[in-house]
Chain length 433, copies 2
């Protein structure tokens, strides 16, 4: 079980020695024989890069050259693959990645922000230099979803890609439900547990998950990455009430990414949605990620696994490294960058059922007034539930038949004039599976 | 979105024009542009092969050369990839596959029996000729599990692979549960619906699923395929009672494949097991397949999708074809055939909890006698439930703590002497997830 003695080693330079970087170092050290047997050649680390050399890092780095500048690491003659695990879509990560590609070196990265913001340029740069850039670890952690979509399902026209791809948001929503705690409390818990990014809006604002969705959409539909066209909405306005009420109606609330090519263009959303509680997405608890891919031949494929953490993310990085060691190379987004179409963003979302929660004042004919507004907006009611109430306003839940987001907005705009709707109604899309 | 005019087409010869073969023809015809854009070259069919040329096949085959002999198809100069969709592990499928490999042609096959019985020889033959043999469609239909295990998770030492990989068995068990029908009735229904193989034992005896498990085990553990070492047990002895009682205790019954490398050797089983009702495997209903892969870095990955049918299986075949079109080639089982170790089969299964169902005669001290036998065999009881009864014997359900299969057998052997256990006790392994 070892590589032929004459086989040329694949030499990695690892930029960034945080959790994931150290995870990669550990795999390369622990599984040297296994990696060599599987790829037919030794996979070795020659150099690493991080700012603080004195930090205790739980791995023996003494055999590797040390750079403090990632661009210098990327340019080293003894590095074949530049492994970028620094993060951030500008600054050192971007400069060093570009330097590596310009030098014709292959790049493996876990950096979703970099790909979401500069994917097209980087893909063009890689092709011009005869290099490739790989990023399995950038989307859904350890789940090999980039490979499934680009390669395994390459015979399919992709219809829709969906995913719960931010473990922190799913943790928060699950915890709110199971512990009955309000958003702010659980948010604070998550912060103290170290689950949140330094800028928490990357998580709870849906930005991080939006980056991932934009990358998947590019591969799925053969289009240029267009993160700026992702409709983003975070989980900050989800109340414990909505989680409970949605549960009463047979749904769970998830921060769900959806990308689909419609007659009106490419639709990309990362928004809180209701999904059937009995569906695979509805049964996803805590920090686990799930991606659902729908293809014209394959039907629906569901992939589930850890979306973050040292081991899972390092596993994804190593999957890419092993492909390179084995000589498997593809264009960045599955086809040559010049052939990726500039997508027309869909101006609106496909029709769907909606969940509406409103508080109705205890006045005669209140429900009839609301129903009239809905009807006039073209929204028809599928199911309705009114709760008992201690004060003057009663919660009313409505699940609509399929309708457009415009019709829902029209209805909501009409509620104040009825004089019976108290406060702001909540409207959430129900995503069918 | 088209391939460069000068690109060399990849020419397929398709042997077998049943459901899957026609599915492949349809994809190649429908998605010519998409396939060319993704692979950088046209993917075309030049010749096909089936016995009966006059049969109506729901696809226009007029542009393809026709062979009645698969070996002749495999030898054609205008065929680059021999696509074997005939089935059967001997006869034409085997001969033609060998002929193709000997001629240095790459092979894509959906034939799990062929790989399970002759995988090692075929792998060696392919390597000797500089060809590859691909078989994504042989395991779990449309789910790209071979790719995930061989490539995406190549940085992991695999700990365990599990799967529900025979949709017909899962359909039968689900239908027994939901309709409350006995095995024989549902079996007959399945036969009439055309869900069963000509030899139904391939399905309900676990053989088909066992073939798939043996293939996954070879890749997961770097060993030679050893189907003969798979412990096989079908679903024929599962009663509606057990399905209901297992449900009462929080479990579902699945025909579950498990492969793991233990200190005692390679364990491969395809047997009815209990799994937690709330686990992804427990929530799998009907004909859908699921594979669970556990790796030392990635943790647990779950893959779910259609395990059979024209579209899903053709999707898997085309994933392999597209890899070949793109020049992605790997050894058959992920490493050179000569390096695959001959596995030592584990002589016994790893310890587990067990579900026991027995009928106790209504005699004083009956339960004490059973508990004594269990205790003497070294089996300790975790949970027990006794049901009311109309006749002289009452059903008793026991969930044990972790124990060995030998201890369970010892206990069962001791029951008759108690004089209080009526009929044959049922013992089923509980697989932890």
């Amino acid at each position: 079980m070892s590589a032929p003695a004459q086989a040329t080693p694949l030499r990695l330079g690892i930029a960034g020695l945080g959790t994931v970087g150290i995870g990669v170092v550990k795999i390369v050290q622990r599984h040297a024989d296994l990696l060599a047997a599987r790829s037919g050649r030794p996979v070795v680390i020659t150099a690493v890069c991080a700012r603080d050399r004195t930090k205790n890092r739980d791995a023996d780095l003494s055999g590797y050259a040390w750079e403090t500048d990632a661009v210098a690491l990327a340019g080293r003659d003894d590095v074949d693959v530049f492994v970028e695990l620094m993060g951030g879509h500008e600054g050192a990560a971007r400069h060093a990645t570009e330097a590596a590609l310009r030098a014709g070196k292959n790049v493996v990265t876990a950096n979703k922000a970099l790909l979401a913001h500069h994917g097209q340029e980087l893909a063009e740069m890689a092709e011009a230099a005869g290099a490739v850039i790989r990023f399995e670890a950038a989307v859904a952690g350890g789940i090999p979803v980039i490979k499934a979509l680009t390669e395994g399902l390459a015979g399919n026209q992709i219809r829709r890609v969906m995913g719960v791809m931010n473990g922190t948001c799913n943790y928060i929503l699950t915890r709110m439900e199971t512990a009955g705690l309000p958003y702010d409390t659980v948010f604070e818990e998550a912060r103290q547990l170290g689950y949140l990014e330094a800028d928490p809006n990357l998580d709870v604002g849906g930005i991080d998950a939006g980056h991932k969705l934009a990358i998947l959409a590019a591969i799925a539909f053969g289009t240029r990455v267009s993160f700026e066209a992702v409709k983003l909405e975070g989980i900050g306005r989800i109340s414990i009430d909505d989680i409970r009420r949605a549960g009463d109606m047979g749904y769970k609330i998830k921060l769900l990414g959806v990308a689909q090519m419609t007659g009106r263009g490419l639709e990309q959303r990362m928004t809180p949605c209701l999904v059937p509680a009995s569906s695979p997405l509805g049964q996803l608890h805590g920090g686990t990620n799930m991606v659902v891919i729908e293809g014209d031949s394959v039907g629906q494929i569901v992939l589930r696994g850890a979306g973050a953490g040292e081991g899972p993310t390092a596993s994804a990085v190593m999957g890419d490294v092993m492909d390179l060691a084995r000589g498997l190379k593809l264009p960045t987004f599955g086809m040559p960058a010049a052939q990726l179409a500039a997508p027309t963003p869909a101006v609106t979302s496909a029709p769907a059922s909606y969940y509406l929660r409103l508080h109705l004042l205890d006045k005669p004919g209140a429900l009839a007034k609301v129903a009239t507004v809905l009807g006039e907006a073209g929204v028809s009611i599928s199911r309705m539930r009114q709760y008992g109430h201690d004060d003057s306003a009663a919660p009313v839940l409505i699940v609509t038949h399929k309708t457009t987001p415009e019709a829902i907005s029209l209805a909501i705009a009409g509620f104040p004039a009825t004089g019976v709707v108290e406060g702001e109604p909540v409207a959430l899309r129900i995503e069918e599976l």
